[in-house]
């Protein structure tokens, strides 16, 4: 049955891109693993860890940006919150006294879920309010909430205020030493791989089909019985959790959290990474993170005005096609 094979491998649409990309993606993953393994330079391992963490945040942002068409300009708030929750609990466990009567913990399996739950809760609250609007209002409301979180973090004098909060030690995982840069990189990479797999499954599921239908024609979807709010809010919360996970990893990587993690410039950076890599492609933003961080690294070594060059590059990529680097990789037929 010719027809059935045509359905199993949909030729078009963002979801259909994965089938062709799967093999290359697997090669990409294996390449990354080997690269980390083959090198003993801490510099490269650290650069790779940064890229993986930003990739995780970018994939999460792409879920709402690309598949829900929800242009969140405040996503760094989840990045910041995830990091701060881990740093604060560690701070109480190691240095300061109990927090709300709890001694605190340095166990990743205890602290990380708490941080993720906080991000989910914030995502639910912000999403619930912001999703009552759409378009430019949605952008402005998410931006406003992001800035609120930023200024709250700045005002937390106990936790360092403007200067941020040092983490005296990384979280502890049973059997894995996160203090070792290579192990930490592998853990981050595993998180990124699992999360990306989950997101790919999600957008190709019935849920994802409806979420994308809402983006393409809200009137049609509603008249099929779809309640737009529940789909968009759940996508927003899932995205917040993923971005929060990136924040958790970042706090552990840098062993320092600062309010900058939640600033609007960080939200803009994440958005730039997604656009650079390809909106609505999930795998593209990972490539976007690699190119963005690589360029930032290379250009800032050359000149402190590196944004002068980065800006035009972003403009060029946006003008070249809506699928970004990802679309370029696949060739013109998907542009």
């Amino acid at each position: 049955m010719n027809r059935m094979s045509g359905i199993a491998v949909p030729g078009r649409g963002a979801a259909g891109l994965f089938t062709q990309w799967n093999r290359r993606a697997v090669f990409g993953w294996v390449g990354l693993l080997l690269l980390a393994h083959a090198t003993d330079t801490p510099y490269l391992i650290n650069a790779m860890a940064r890229f993986v963490i930003y990739g995780l945040a970018a994939v999460s942002l792409d879920l709402v940006l690309g598949y829900g068409a929800l242009i969140s300009f405040g996503h760094a708030m989840f990045f910041g919150l995830g990091g701060y929750v881990v740093a604060i609990i560690t701070f109480h466990a190691v240095e300061a006294g109990p927090l709300f009567g709890w001694a605190g913990s340095t166990q990743a399996l205890v602290v990380w879920p708490i941080a993720l739950a906080c991000c989910a809760l914030l995502g639910w609250g912000v999403g619930y309010l912001a999703l009552r609007t759409s378009g430019v209002q949605f952008i402005m409301i998410t931006l406003a909430f992001g800035q609120m979180v930023y200024f709250i973090l700045v005002s937390l004098q106990v936790y360092g205020g403007d200067d941020g909060l040092m983490m005296s030690q990384r979280s502890q995982l049973p059997g894995i030493d996160l203090a070792d840069p290579v192990s930490f990189y592998y853990v981050s990479l595993a998180v990124l791989a699992l999360w990306t797999l989950f997101c790919v499954k999600l957008v190709n599921s019935r849920y994802g089909m409806v979420l994308q239908a809402l983006r393409q024609s809200e009137r049609r979807a509603v008249n099929l019985g779809v309640a737009p709010m529940s789909y968009r809010l759940s996508a927003f919360v899932i995205s917040a959790v993923g971005t929060g996970m990136a924040g958790i990893l970042w706090a552990n990587y840098a062993e320092l959290v600062t309010p900058d993690m939640a600033a609007w410039t960080k939200s803009g950076e994440l958005m730039a990474i997604v656009i650079l890599g390809g909106v609505g492609t999930l795998l593209g933003p990972i490539a976007g993170a690699a190119v963005f961080l690589g360029l930032e690294q290379a250009l800032s070594a050359w000149t402190e005005h590196w944004m002068f060059i980065m800006g035009p590059i972003l403009v060029l990529v946006v003008l070249a096609g809506k699928h970004g680097l990802f679309g370029y990789w696949l060739g013109k037929r998907h542009g």
């Binding site: 089909m209 009137r219 779809v226």
Partner: protein
């Protein structure tokens, strides 16, 4: 059609009013659609047909009046709740997921339910049973060989056919069809007319249409809307004879 089925009133609109500033778009409209009936709504451009349809499906709220769907008052319910209670519609301006292929559009219609939101793991595109059901609907509207064409690449007439397949696939009890033949060629239009005639007993249909051939071929009852007021409801023969209707809308040439 047995008389028991004809008795059941699927849609009951009572005293509906809607104004936009000084323009009274809907003025005290009473309207019923029974099970198995095709009730055509005609009227000149700007008569308020689309405004009435959008109030029935719940996209805009009336200023006054009630809408009952299968005996339940749905006036306060949002559009998606009404859809879940068996109200389907096609749009005057085609509303499709343009990035999806024809069959994906129909699959979407077949797959959406109150619990779809929890279905985050199964890929509907790999569901052979779902694909088969969707393909059957495409065949019914004459798009069997266009299953894998993205809606964006389809011709206008094809999109109208697909729109109908998407609306029908959910098996709604009441269908609001807003000018389904608009922009179709005579051949496609005749096919649609045959399709609707063949399925009339499965739905109650409120049909807004300018193609009078289709209306007279299909409608059990015809209502005429002029400046937001229903000036007449009756059979096709009665509407042809009605002097006020002739002057307001049909013109002598149409009879």
């Amino acid at each position: 059609m047995d008389s028991a089925a004809m008795e059941e009133v699927l849609l009951d609109v009572r005293g509906l009013r809607k104004s936009f500033g000084a323009v009274a778009a809907t003025q005290n409209v009473d309207l019923t659609v029974r099970a198995g009936e095709i009730h055509a709504l005609i009227g000149p451009n700007g008569a308020g047909k689309s405004t009435l349809i959008t109030q029935i499906c719940g996209e805009i709220r009336p200023d006054a009046g009630q809408i009952h769907l299968a005996g339940r008052d749905v006036t306060a319910l949002p559009a998606y709740e009404r859809a879940r209670r068996g109200l389907g519609r096609s749009f005057q301006i085609t509303q499709l997921c343009l990035e999806y292929t024809a069959i994906e559009n129909v699959m979407l219609s077949l797959t959406v339910g109150p619990r779809t939101i929890f279905s985050i793991w199964s890929d509907p595109r790999r569901d052979a049973g779902l694909a088969e059901r969707a393909q059957a609907w495409l065949e019914r509207v004459g798009l069997a060989d266009r299953a894998d064409v993205p809606a964006a690449d389809m011709a206008h007439g094809e999109r109208r056919q697909l729109e109908l397949a998407v609306a029908l696939a959910r098996e709604p009890r009441l269908l609001l069809l807003d000018e389904p033949m608009a922009g179709m060629g005579p051949e496609e239009s005749a096919r649609m007319t045959r399709l609707l005639a063949g399925m009339r007993e499965r739905y109650g249909i409120l049909l807004v249409e300018h193609d009078m051939d289709a209306v007279f071929a299909l409608a059990d009852r015809v209502s005429v809307l002029v400046y937001g007021k229903l000036i007449f409801t009756g059979s096709c023969d009665e509407v042809r004879q009605h002097p006020e209707v002739r002057s307001a809308y049909l013109g002598d040439a149409a009879c």
